[in-house]
Amino acid sequence: MSDNEKILIASSTKNLSKVRKFVEESAEHSGLDQATVNQIVLSVDEACTNIIKHAHKYNETNTIEIEIEAGYNQFKITFNYKSGNTFDPNEAQNPDMVEYFKNYKVGGLGIPIMKKFMSKIIAQHKNPDVNSLILIKSIDKPSSLPSGTKLFRGTILFR
C-alpha cells in the first residue's frame, strides 16, 4: 500500500496520468468496486483538467494539491489551488445533448461527467485567492475500514 494521502503536482496536463494512478490506487485500496473506481478516476481527471485549463490557463508554474480521505461512508477528493479564477461546477448547466450534437459542439462535457458520477461537488473560495474543489462519492456498501480512517500519509511532488 502506498503511504501517501496527498500529492502536489505542477498544473500541467502531463501530470494527469500521475493523478489518475494516485486516485485509482487509493480507491482500490479502500475496497470500492471497479466500476465506482473508474467513475471516480474519470471525475478527478475532468476536475483536474478544468483547473489546469480554466483556472491556471495552462501556466505550469501553478500547483494543485490533491488530497484523499477514504472514510466509511464516502470517498472524498479535495483539490487545493491558488487562482483568482475560480469555477463552481454546480453553476454550470448541463448541455442539451440533442442540440449539442446537432450543432457539432466541442468541449463542455467534463462537468456533466463529474455531476453524473459524483454524489456531491463543493467549490470553496478562500481569501485571498485560494480555492478548493471537493468531489464526494457516497459509498452504499460499507467498506472494511472503520469510520474516519485515512489511508495515506505524506506528500509527493511531481514536476
Binding site: 494527469l16 481527471d45 483538467t49 445533448m97 440533442v98 466541442v106 468541449g107
Partner: protein
C-alpha cells in the same frame, strides 16, 4: 511504456487508426494532429479502432466532435469500433451514438463504407 500511441493502416481509400493506451487532455493533442493530417491529405473516410484503448476522458471525446462535420461534408465519416464496455459506456452515457456510428467489429465499419 507510452501513455498513448496511434498506429495507422490503409484499406483502399479508408484510413484506420488504432488507438492504444490513455486518451486524455494531454494525449488528445496527438490524435488531433493525426486527424488534421488525414483531412489535409483529403482522407475523409476514417475508422478509429478502440480495441487497445484503456481510458478516455471528455478531451478525447472532443477530438471526434471537432472533426466529424468536416469528414461528412466531404462525403466521408469517422466510424468508431471495437470499444471495451468501459469506453463505450462513456460514449453512450453522453449520447454519442446519436451522432456516431459505433460497431463491435472493424470489418463491419469497413463494410459500411464500402456500401455507401
Amino acid at each position: 511504456m507510452e501513455e498513448f500511441s496511434i498506429t495507422k493502416k490503409s484499406s483502399g481509400e479508408i484510413e484506420v487508426l488504432n488507438l492504444e493506451g490513455f486518451l486524455d487532455a494531454h494525449t488528445s493533442v496527438e490524435l488531433e494532429k493525426e486527424l488534421e493530417t488525414l483531412l489535409a491529405a483529403g482522407k475523409f473516410k476514417i475508422i478509429v479502432n478502440f480495441k487497445k484503448l484503456t481510458y478516455i476522458s471528455s478531451a478525447g471525446l472532443g477530438v471526434f466532435m471537432a472533426y466529424i462535420e468536416n469528414t461528412r461534408n466531404n462525403n466521408g465519416d469517422i466510424k468508431l469500433c471495437e470499444m471495451s464496455e468501459k469506453i463505450f459506456n462513456i460514449f453512450d452515457m453522453l449520447g454519442f451514438p446519436i451522432l456516431f456510428e459505433i460497431y463491435n467489429e472493424e470489418g463491419t465499419a469497413l463494410e459500411k463504407f464500402s456500401n455507401n
